[in-house]
């Protein structure tokens, strides 16, 4: 009898703290949800420099949008798009935008199913893709415009020898020979010849090439450059995968720069924005050597755009990058990434959004944000002016506003 009584009292005692905990949790959760408001919960106040530059452009974005918009594509654009999202969101405070860096191919495929408004891609569309875009673009065909140009630096680490600040000079054929294992030491006569000023400082150290082990537009661009400028020393066909296994592979740009930074005598290729702290090679152009910089890369795009024949046909702005340029002061290795969009969208909301987004990406404010925060090279003004009419002509098939995103 006493036993059962004890049991009972214990039960009551133990149930009470449980109820109390439950109540606290419920009250706490509902209070925090109430405090938060809804969509604005935890939003940061953006940097004032950013909101200022965006405020000047306010006029072009009078049509207010709300809700969620999605885009997908090349991971190379991710940093730039993230910065642009912040700038664009300052103009359209009620939207939430996402960019899924699933890769160029995956991004374009997602775009072709109609799941995203636009796609980012390191490669221009193939004829087949243009054909199949008719389904999602309601009979018209998709177009691409270059929005992101990133210089690709050949980076090295010789910090122990004090050489990270003095851009080592290399001709395209020297670079190709290093990445194919024909030049293996930093004090190779070829390197000494090209670097008379620092010839004595070049160490007798093995060169370890570092390359991307995953599929990458950066790899393809770098190989295309070597293919065009050193055809005798670089014989493999450019592709998204690295052709040999000399040295060290690393997955993704951050891992490449990390690998280069961790050892002496390493040499690899990576987006210019990511190589801070490492040495960058000044590559041979004509009789000159040019170190990577956004300005020198902008010149390359300017020159390449001028010599691209079919630029702007059908609204497609595909730039044939002139890797083998001989112009002085032009940095010849650059990744051009495109935004792929439809001229006609099913609903007005997506059409307005895409039009505004692309306009913003090409505006002065957008270009500055992406240059400051992703280290991209600016798109030349003349080229941007040619592309704006194409963006302006984006329309919607129906005038309805209720639609899926």
């Amino acid at each position: 009898m006493r036993l059962s009584h004890n049991d009972h009292s214990e039960c009551v005692q133990s149930a009470q703290p449980w109820r109390r905990i439950l109540r606290t949790v419920l009250v706490g959760t509902s209070a925090s949800v109430l405090l938060c408001g809804l969509a604005a919960c935890g939003d940061n106040t953006p940097s004032p420099s950013l909101t200022q530059s965006s405020a000047q452009a306010q006029g072009s974005y009078t049509e207010k949008l709300s809700g969620e918009f999605a885009a997908a594509g090349a991971s190379s654009q991710k940093s730039a798009v993230d910065a642009l999202i912040v700038g664009y969101s300052a103009l359209q405070p009620n939207i939430a935008m996402s960019y899924d860096p699933s890769g160029s191919g995956a991004g374009v495929n997602t775009f072709l199913t109609g799941a995203v408004a636009w796609a980012g891609s390191d490669a221009s569309l193939s004829d087949e893709q243009i054909q199949s875009s008719q389904a999602v673009c309601l009979g018209s065909t998709a177009f691409e415009i270059p929005v992101y140009v990133s210089p690709i630096a050949v980076a090295y680490n010789l910090s122990d020898y004090g050489l990270n600040d003095s851009s080592v000079h290399m001709s395209p054929s020297t670079i190709a020979k290093i990445f194919t294992g024909k030049i293996t030491s930093w004090d190779d006569p070829q390197l000494k010849k090209e670097n008379p000023d620092i010839a004595d400082k070049l160490p007798s150290l093995e060169i370890t090439p570092v390359w991307r082990s995953d599929k990458s537009g950066t790899t393809k661009t770098f190989q295309t450059y070597l293919h065009h400028t050193a055809p005798n020393d670089w014989t493999s066909e450019p592709s998204e995968t690295w052709p040999n296994s000399l040295g060290q592979g690393a997955k993704g740009t951050p891992a490449v720069t990390m690998t280069i930074g961790q050892a002496q005598g390493t040499l690899g290729y990576a987006d210019f924005a990511q190589v801070s702290g490492l040495g960058t090679v000044a590559v041979g152009v004509g009789s000159d050597y040019v170190a990577p910089s956004p300005e020198a890369t902008a010149k390359l795009i300017d020159e390449s755009a001028a010599s691209s024949d079919s630029l702007g046909a059908d609204g497609r702005f595909v730039i044939d990058v002139n890797y083998a340029t001989q112009e002085s002061g032009v940095y010849p290795i650059a990744l051009v990434s495109y935004d792929i969009a439809c001229p006609v969208y099913k609903d007005a909301r997506t059409a307005t959004y895409t039009k505004q987004w692309l306009t913003y990406a090409l505006s002065d404010a957008g270009q500055k944000i992406s240059q400051d925060n992703a280290g991209s090279a600016p798109i030349p003004q003349s080229l941007r002016e040619k592309m704006l009419p194409v963006i302006d002509s984006i329309t919607a098939a129906s005038s309805g506003t209720a639609a899926k995103n």
Binding site: A39, T45, A96, A115, G252, A273, N373
Partner: protein, 319 residues
Amino acid sequence: MRTPDFDKFKPTRSSLAARKRTDMLMRVLIYAAFLVAVIPLVSVLYTTIVHGITRFDWYFLTHNMRGVVGGLYPYGGILHAAVGTLEITLGAMVISVPLGIMTAVYLVEYSAKKRLHKTISFFIDVMSGIPSIVAGLFAYSMFSLIFGPGTVNGFVGSAALSILMIPTIVRSTEEMLSIVPVDLREAAYALGVPKSRTIVRIVLRTALPGIVSGVILAIARVIGETAPLLIAAGSISSTNFNLFSGRMTTLPVYVYNEFQQGMASCPAGSALGTDAWGVCVPGIRMERAWAAALVLILLVLVLNGIGRLVAKVFAVKTK
């Protein structure tokens, strides 16, 4: 009757010494194995805490990533990712806990030695071997087929995770139910309690602490999943409380995204230093990734604590 000569069985001194040596050797080996097993755990915890503590503050916990650019102040936080992880995991629990427990009850209490038992068991085993990315793709394509292409929201993520959780829950619950003594069931039947009531009030109640630990293990297994959520739930920089509409960032996806982007580039002329307007931290993404990893570990710890509490409160009192 003569007593047996026990002295005959007395161990000799040398055999005693040999036993002690073997004992010592095995003891050392087992301790060494324990230490080896603990090293990675301690190392992971230590590294995460050391790297994560720099960014781990109130601002980080109460802000999302909207309005955050490169390495510039403000440095953003993980509120959106924490909300996403909690809601998606809760959603996965709501789907998989009832399903898992009911499957286990059927397997143990109703279907013993039937052919269906073998079939279900087999498929549970197959399910537990499904790679997580396949679960993500399955959920994504299923929702795409039903609700149109590109349906990405928190609930798709929950569906993907529940596929990973169900086998773990079924297996552990099955174990727990089968160790409930048959006597208890028989005692209930003897008192005229129907079978269904016996299962709910006696069997499940007795096995509750074990079932709860199984559920916690299942949660711990899925809460760190990145690949399926990257596909199914996507990622976005603003806070989304609605599980059924719009993308949701989760902590592992957040960590992955931050790490994937590497160093943040700073606008020319921006200052370096402590948190203030215009100050740029190039390594901010790594700091955020570490701090978010720390939060994830703490979250699992808290969930573990809650689970233990639940098990304790509802456990059958025995004297």
